[in-house]
């Protein structure tokens, strides 16, 4: 199984390749896109989480190739405007021409439009935003030219197994650590549509903060609290009876995120992923500091290596994973953070 990690500059590419990552993924927002569509995010991430120029990306790709590491570039907005497709296509052509090994897309229209000749021999990865939950959906994207499917984080192990079993000729990728989202990526309007940032503009009277449009900007009260909005908000919620239409509880605070910001880890499931033939394990969050990315890569690598030693039963593997987790992250692994959780007494809830 390959280990895939996010990267945002050539220094990160160097570091991650040195510690043995097999694949890298990144986004790019070249100047010609920014100039024309500065308000629109090309890959669902703010500008700072993307490469900003092809030359910088080429250097990162060259570094990766020297280490026999593949680089996949995400052009994975939910959709583009009719006028934007040509430019998105041009960006894909440019990144493939400078040596990228594949692209990550989420929009069926973009897949339809792409020059199949140019993509020959390249990885065409359908991202989790495409929401592929079943084998017929895999076939749908395969017919459009996809070579790999990223399975959504909210599939259970047995659901993944069933889907993979029905078409083993396709490659599959699963999320393995960080960035555990509550909502389904491709069906969520909670944060990705409301991502934005504050910039500082100098004016005669003094500094003035201006909402910058890296994506749709966020609304005023969110800015004031420093949230990016959506599911991380604290809501006041009240239960309403469907039958009687009346309020049946007092107002309580609620957050989709529980008590803390969830990082997410699914290392325990690598044992199953190996059996079912998962091609790649994806470490998430392009915006993480490089130290965190490197730590995650090393942790997942060590977990995977446990399976190289020979036959190890699942229970022992999970025990060892938990020890590794504690050593690496200096904290116990928590069910709140679990991508593929087990219940009490190790009876898996999701199997």
């Amino acid at each position: 199984m390959k280990i895939k990690a996010p990267v945002i500059n050539k220094e990160e590419a160097m570091r991650l390749c040195e510690i043995g990552v097999d694949e890298l993924f990144c986004g790019i927002e070249p100047s010609y896109w920014r100039k024309r569509y500065k308000c629109f995010s090309i890959s669902q991430r703010p500008a700072f989480a993307n490469f900003t120029g092809l030359s910088e990306l080429k250097k990162a790709i060259d570094i990766a190739h020297r280490h026999k590491t593949k680089v996949h570039v995400a052009v994975n907005a939910f959709f583009y405007l009719e006028k934007q497709y040509d430019m998105a296509e041009r960006i894909i052509e440019d990144v493939l021409n400078i040596g990228a090994d594949g692209v990550i897309v989420a929009d069926a229209v973009l897949l339809l439009k792409l020059n199949k000749e140019l993509l020959k021999g390249k990885d065409i990865i359908v991202g989790c935003d495409a929401v592929v939950f079943n084998s017929y959906a895999v076939k749908f994207y395969k017919d459009l030219g996809a070579t790999r499917i990223v399975l959504p984080r909210s599939m259970t192990i047995s659901e993944m197994e069933e889907t993979i079993r029905q078409d083993v000729s396709m490659e599959y990728e699963a999320f393995i650590i960080h960035d555990l989202c509550f909502f389904e990526d491709g069906l969520c309007a909670s944060c990705k549509e409301a991502s934005g940032s504050i910039g500082l503009r100098k004016s005669k009277e003094g500094d003035e903060k201006v909402s910058l449009f890296t994506g749709p900007i966020i609304s005023k009260p969110i800015l004031m609290r420093g949230y990016l909005g959506g599911c991380r908000d604290i809501f006041q919620q009240q239960k309403i009876s469907v039958k009687e239409g009346r309020k049946i509880s007092r107002i309580k605070n609620f957050s989709f995120w529980g008590k803390k910001h969830i990082q997410g880890c699914g290392a325990c499931a690598i044992h199953d992923f190996k059996k079912m033939g998962m091609a790649s394990l994806k470490i998430l969050d392009r915006r993480l500091p490089i130290e965190e990315k490197a730590k995650a890569v090393m942790f997942i690598k060590k977990c995977s290596d446990l399976l190289l030693k020979g036959a190890i039963d699942k229970e022992s593997y999970i025990k060892e994973c938990k020890v590794l987790f504690r050593k690496t992250f200096k904290t116990r692994c928590d069910l709140y953070d679990c991508y593929y959780p087990y219940g009490k007494s190790n009876t898996c809830f999701k199997y």
């Binding site: 959709f79 549509e193 009260p221």
Partner: protein, 283 residues
């Protein structure tokens, strides 16, 4: 203008008015755990026939397990020669219908696949907001935050969807899609170039959907999939937040906001069907 009512349980037939509605939507958009069983579907079909209303079967996002259940329902409808439209919310379900039931049903692309921008804060983003002061906690310095409304292209983009693309429409036509199901999103609609027939849902707009069902239960503390006690059939939640300028509803796996329909805009947008949802449609 055709008027339809969407019911997802037998007891919701109490909202049906024979003089008002010409079509009955039956089924679930968001959760495969609530795909109706064949017996209920049979009863609904009898009810539709008795009241001489047309029938649409609404399908959710599905895993392979859910797809098997849908396949049973599709086979049942075909076996009984039911003249039926199917609302598809999963590419796999569309692929299955195309491969195994080719052109038997009329197909409509559901709200989950149309991918409109459904952020309830979108109106605030697009319309000019007054400036406000913000104090830096560390330095005590006060800054003025100015909202710079986005340009025309962005405004248009937030009202559009990828179904505006003629390429996608040609592609979907090959699968037999004839109609689009649309949310009545708060920022308005941009439907230029769409050749399909259009339905609009009122009054609920779906915001986000998950399979980690957030309804309260003994197991709420664990992220849970397929651990369904059907809590959503007993109650839902009204939610308020300082950052979102409207009430958010949470029922089952999906959150919603309410946006009332501007009837004048329907003709302008060539929308020929209104789908009324008498109850919060989540599940």
């Amino acid at each position: 203008m055709e008027k339809a009512i969407h019911v997802s349980s037998i007891k919701n037939l109490k909202y049906f008015n024979k003089d008002e509605y010409q079509r009955l939507y039956w089924g679930q958009e968001f959760c495969q755990n609530l795909i109706p069983d064949l017996k209920d579907t049979e009863n609904i079909l009898a009810f539709a026939a008795k009241n001489k209303v047309k029938f649409s079967f609404v399908t959710p996002l599905v895993t392979d397990k859910g797809l098997r259940k849908l396949r049973e329902a599709f086979s049942y409808l075909r076996k009984n020669n039911v003249e039926c439209e199917i609302i598809v919310n999963d590419w796999g379900a569309l692929g299955c219908l195309h491969a195994e039931f080719n052109k038997y049903f009329k197909l409509a692309l559901g709200r989950l696949l149309v991918r409109q921008q459904r952020d309830p804060s979108m109106k605030i983003v697009l319309e000019k907001q007054p400036p406000y002061a913000m104090r830096d906690k560390k330095t005590g310095k006060i800054s003025i935050v100015v909202h710079r409304p986005p340009g025309k292209l962005y405004q248009q983009g937030m009202k559009a969807s990828y179904v505006n693309s003629s390429l996608l429409q040609d592609f979907l036509s090959k699968f037999g899609i004839e109609r689009l199901e649309l949310n009545n999103v708060i920022q308005g609609l941009y439907l230029k170039g769409i050749r399909f027939k259009k339905s609009i849902y009122t009054p609920y707009v779906n915001i986000s959907t998950t399979r980690f069902c957030p309804m309260e239960s003994r197991l709420q503390k664990l992220y849970r999939i397929n651990m369904c006690n059907k809590e959503c059939q007993g109650y839902y939640y009204e939610m308020h937040s300082k950052s979102i300028p409207m009430v958010i509803y949470k029922r089952g796996s999906t959150t919603f906001y309410k946006n009332l329909l501007d009837v004048k805009s329907l003709e302008k947008n060539r929308i020929d069907r209104i789908v009324f949802q008498p109850e919060l449609p989540g599940g």
